[in-house]
Amino acid sequence: MEAVRTEPQGKTAALSFRNVDILFHRNNSSSAIAQAVKRLDEGGTREQIAAELGVTVGVANANLEIRRGEISVLMGLSGSGKSTLLRAANRLNKVTRGSVEIGNGTAFVDIANCDDETLRDMRRTRVTMVFQQFGLLPWRTVRENVSFGLELRGFTPNARRKIAEEKLELVGLTRWANSYVSELSGGMQQRVGLARAFATDADILLMDEPFSALDPLIRRKLQDELLDLQTRLKKTIVFVSHDIDEALRIGSNIAIMREGRIIQAGPPQEIISSPVDDYVRDFVRHMNPLPLLNAASVMRLLEVCPRWDDSTIQLDVTGHYGFNPVTATVSDRTGMEIPLQFHDTDDISELKVVSGCVYCVPVTASLNTVALLRQKSGMPVLISDASQIIGLCDDADMIGAITGVARASKVN
């Protein structure tokens, strides 16, 4: 591998795009593209270059670092160059200028400019891809599809079979190993795509709108599964999406693209709290605020709640239930104690919520969780911070928070 160099110290980027330009010309005329690059440097816009030279600027001067183990989401309107940039990471699109570096901690390979042999090696062992339209081979069974990458690498049938079984179990399709792809639903097909990508053991996973061909319920389920797999497998994922909710849900970093350029990149909170321009603001405005709000932003502090007497705080509007902060007990008017349950994590999928029981969650719990607990228990939800109960949350608080956010973002 001739393109190997040592990486500057202290960097953990698994994948970095450096000054990447990607230009397309219908006949791939290199002179037209060279001219277009020049025009681009002189400050020509995308439209001008397209009109003057017939060259499409897919990506212009993109710089992006993707750290090991994080999910980075590329967002933008249709035609903004997300797929083009993503596909530069395994050279399905040729990079006109710039480099795409894939590192392993000590050395990196410039996949945009390496030789064919190295490129193949990288594609087989380091970078893998999940396609929007699945890209599965219809004449192969599910198992054969999953072991496709291994077959290209020359694994023996036994080894292939073993790994394929393993990955199929990971995505829950063991039962379907011998079926043909056409017998599977869209969601299952994309799971096969995921298993195929995982089977190569590549640490970088490129996903080009992998869930957008699926209906919303399945999409959500697959997002959850992806997050779950990610906590176990710790891949570096570059995920293209045009859905802000999806991006916020799964992304630990978001890069927003517009007309071939990355105009803002950063963690989701930063994108939401300080959008750089109207384009980004527009994206943020259309998001669903629920998953982003947490108990802290919704709750009412106990101090401001009405009291029955010195020791008891009234919990609900009708005044049936009271809470005693000193003894940390909930009781009704007659003095009968109501069971109180502490729940420390945000994950309540395992929890059997008992109706009539009061739940207490930490301030970091998402609004989703709080709302679910409120709905299922039929009681207000208590909020704790550092094992001290400090606030409470009922319907009015939640509605207030949601409408408040909606109103605030419109004014913004």
């Binding site: 395994n90 399905l92 490129l119 193949r120 090696d121 990288m122 594609r123 087989r124 062992t125 893998t128 891809m129 396609f131 339209q133 890209g135 599965l136 081979l137 004449w139 496709f148 990458g149 077959e151 290209l152 690498r153 195929r196 190569t200 490129l206």
Partner: protein
Amino acid sequence: MAFRLPWPGLKSPDCEARSMNGLEDWITSHKIPVGEVASNAVDWIRDHCQGGFDVISEAIGSCADGFTNLLTSVPPVLFVALLTIGVWFWKRAISTCVLVALGLLFIINQGYWQETMATLSLIFFATFTCMLIGVPIGIASAHRPWLAKILHPVLDLMQTLPTFVYLIPTLILFGLGTVPGTISTVVFAIPAPIRMTQLGISSVPKALLEAGDAFGATPRQRLWKVEVPAALPMIREGLSQCIMLSLSMVVIAALVGAGGLGVPVVRALNTVQIDTGFESGLAIVLVAIILDRLCRKKTH
């Protein structure tokens, strides 16, 4: 020769007629020697490469005749029984089995078994050769636009040029018999597998090719693990077209001395025998139907 307009009412000016006449004379007197060139070329080839053609002729001839002998050495009824059983295991369709058995028994009944076997052998050889040459050419031209551009008119020519025209040089080069019959059949039928393969390979969905690339396929792996399997239905279609086209050449092959079901047809034509003509014609149709059924894709 006076130049006359077909319409009596119109008079042609004399001078114009004369000059036209002169032009026509000039054109005819400078004949471009297309025919001569072709015939000289064939002569040259015959004089210089006859050895090579003899070898080819010998090879194809002995293979084809050997195969025919093998087919005819099996007792007809046993052959029908074996074939029917084979078809059952292959297709699992009772109707196809019945068709094969009844059709072949009818041919035995009419007394055309030898000829049918000779025809099958000819078709088999011609088709085998066509696929052997045609599929790689189809793949190559799907990958190289310039080759496809050159190939297009050549294939058109092969299919439109009347068969008798290239029958003559093949006769000269290979003599009478099975060989020129096989070769003319190949020339006529090979455009089908070339075209279908090319179409199949070039219409492989881009998504599948990219999937192959993204997982690090070498060009060879890409061909064998993505393109060919994806194009297989088309290639199979090319195969069945090739078989049908070969079958449609049996009568013409018989004219240059190849054996088979074409022979009684030609004989019937020469001696105006309606009965022989119909019998052998019907046998050809039956062979065609049976082969078509066998080529069809398996239906689950």
